[in-house]
Subunit: 344 residues, 2 copies
DNA sequence: ATAATTAACTATAACGTTATAGCTAACAAA
DNA sequence: TTTGTTAGCTATAACGTTATAGTTAATTAT
């Protein structure tokens, strides 16, 4: 085991001061050329690397970004992380991951740990439980400590920080319009409970499209999937409700707020021998792997996770490097796009 | 913006020495009860938190684990990370993520950054390109620096460190046997190129099962999917080859080394109006979301990513905390299990 | 010849901790 | 009275850096 050599050790070996070594390695003209070269050669030969922790302490910068997300095993979030990681690395930042598991308590804990620790800033998407509780003190406190925060996808207006969101409402409206243009008038909406901001916005878009086309919204056609820890229960709830719905009334299209819901819907329809898209047409949010490999493949609204991740990282790094002022905040809106596949 | 208070500031405020403050907060009996309580109260009131970077410098420990994986947007790897994150957090460690993108160069870079930086140990799965190149100097150098490394899933025997793998060969053999027991004798194998250790082992298991049942292996029934950056090309290669194969000979079963391959196979079969599992039965590795939501759903071999992640983190943390000796290495083998669904 | 300048280096403090050793006053033991 | 002990605190070094302010000795200007 070869321990990393330090400036002090180099200084001792070569009988010069630590300052001389430090300056030589920075190629400072304060040090004579000969000494400088000798020290650089020695450092190289011994594979000297500055101790980043010491530098972090000195500079009060860790060059590390913390990311708090509700889930990792999730197509959209993993895309976003991937893209944050990519952009950050390219700009000399490391990425620490923390998972809230949709739990308020864990999110607060994560935030605390990150804020006391080795990070310069935080990118996060808020846990469902936190949205439900409406308690955002942890986020505000972090911001008060001078740690920049960027929120993405699930955001809340009462927090003053940079944000990256998707035009959820508009996208849902457009998708609904596409279904209506295809002469579908009994469109069932599979959405989440109201406190989830994105689900809510998508529901609004759906309703607005109906209104624009003078279609009376029907509450029996809106299924709000109860949020259960342990998604198995959640899914069987969805399947039961959906089955009841299609048996008790006419349904000729389904709009799902994510691909898990749409994928489950596909199963139910298949079980009931309903052909997609002939009898029922489907469009869903989240352009993930289910949409591509299901059969029929699903028409989806892509939220462009790569772009969201990149923009979030960019906004944060701009704050960290002082490129943008620390008390002006931007909200970037990413435009969704509809990817047509077999289900519609 | 409220900057975090330091020991020094507390000391100045209360007219005591830094030592006194430090010891009081550690509840040291060297300090009188009254002073101690006063200091603790003051610290609490000002929300004192020790500066973890200073502690890291002092203790030469960062309480952070680095994870290098080939991909994040990948069901198996995201499960493993999730589980590493969970176990690590529970044991007081943070997790830094680095993605190699299957590239040797990026893996080396990641390793360098992590090794110079804020981590105590590394958990990794080796990039395909690295496996192909057979160049593992970066991993060895990191180990030589005294940074413990744990390899999972894609490992290599020439590196001395802890490892967590799956009984790939045995699992492939058993899955093949299941197909044979179902009277399928023309089993097509969809595998990766030979240098990917796990693909190779799975191929071996397949061949062994054939041999045990006196079935002559047929090289036309083995498709080695060419690895392309940009998985679109990779997939169309697979689809073309598979289509050729099923048209030119009898095939009554398919074994895929991952669910993307199997999912693509499903598409090809559907396109050719071949019914699954009646005409062709399918089993694949990777129990991901495609397997569950495809139709028919895929019978898969689960590699138990949660367990792999947890074991990897446990092995590493045991090394970091000195629970296990730093020069004895373990290889843990996780048993796969076959999950039967509709495709077989 | 004396002062001013410069080249080439060194000492020191600081980032925020903690562990070790040291100091002082009060009290107890001999 | 002198020595020893203890309680309660402080000073210092160290972790590995870098920036600032010295310190020399040699060179140049006047």
């Amino acid at each position: 085991m070869i321990r990393r050599i330090t400036l002090k050790e180099i200084a001792n070996e070569l009988n010069v001061s630590i300052s001389t070594v430090s300056k030589s390695l920075k190629d400072s003209h304060e040090i004579g050329l000969e000494t400088r070269e000798k020290i650089k050669a020695f450092a190289k030969a011994h594979n000297y690397r500055p101790n980043n922790i010491a530098l972090s302490l000195k500079n009060r910068k860790t060059k590390t970004i913390g990311v708090i997300i509700p889930e990792i095993v999730h197509h959209f979030f993993s895309i976003v992380i991937n893209s944050i990681e990519k952009f950050s690395t390219e700009n000399g930042y490391n990425v620490i991951i923390a998972v809230s598991n949709e739990s308020f308590e864990k999110e607060v804990l994560n935030m605390e740990t990150l804020a006391n620790g080795h990070i310069d800033g935080i990118i996060m998407s808020i846990a469902k439980e936190t949205l439900k509780k409406q308690d955002f003190h942890h986020i505000k406190e972090t911001i008060d400590l001078g740690i920049p925060v960027v929120l993405f996808d699930r955001v809340i207006s009462e927090i003053k920080c940079d944000k990256v969101i998707v035009n959820d409402k508009q996208a849902a409206k457009e998708a609904t319009q596409v279904l209506i243009d295809d002469k579908r008038e009994n469109i069932l909406l599979l959405t989440s409970e109201d406190y989830v901001s994105v689900g809510n916005l998508r529901t609004e878009g759906y309703l607005e499209a109906l209104k624009d086309n003078d279609i009376e919204p029907n509450s029996n056609l809106i299924i709000k999937v109860k949020d259960k820890k342990g998604s198995q229960l959640e899914m069987s709830y969805l399947e039961d409700e959906l089955e009841k719905a299609i048996k008790s009334q006419k349904v000729d299209a389904i709009l799902g707020v994510n691909e898990i819901y749409a994928g489950s819907a596909l199963k139910v329809l298949k079980k009931n021998n309903i052909s997609v898209p002939k009898e029922i047409s489907i469009i869903s949010f989240t352009d993930g792997v289910i949409s591509r490999y299901s059969s029929p493949s699903l028409s989806t609204i892509s939220q462009h996770g790569e772009i969201m991740g990149e923009r979030s990282a960019e906004l944060l790094i701009n704050k960290l490097t002082g490129k943008t002022s620390s008390n002006e905040f931007k909200t970037e809106i990413i435009n969704c796009s509809l990817i047509k596949r077999e289900s519609s």
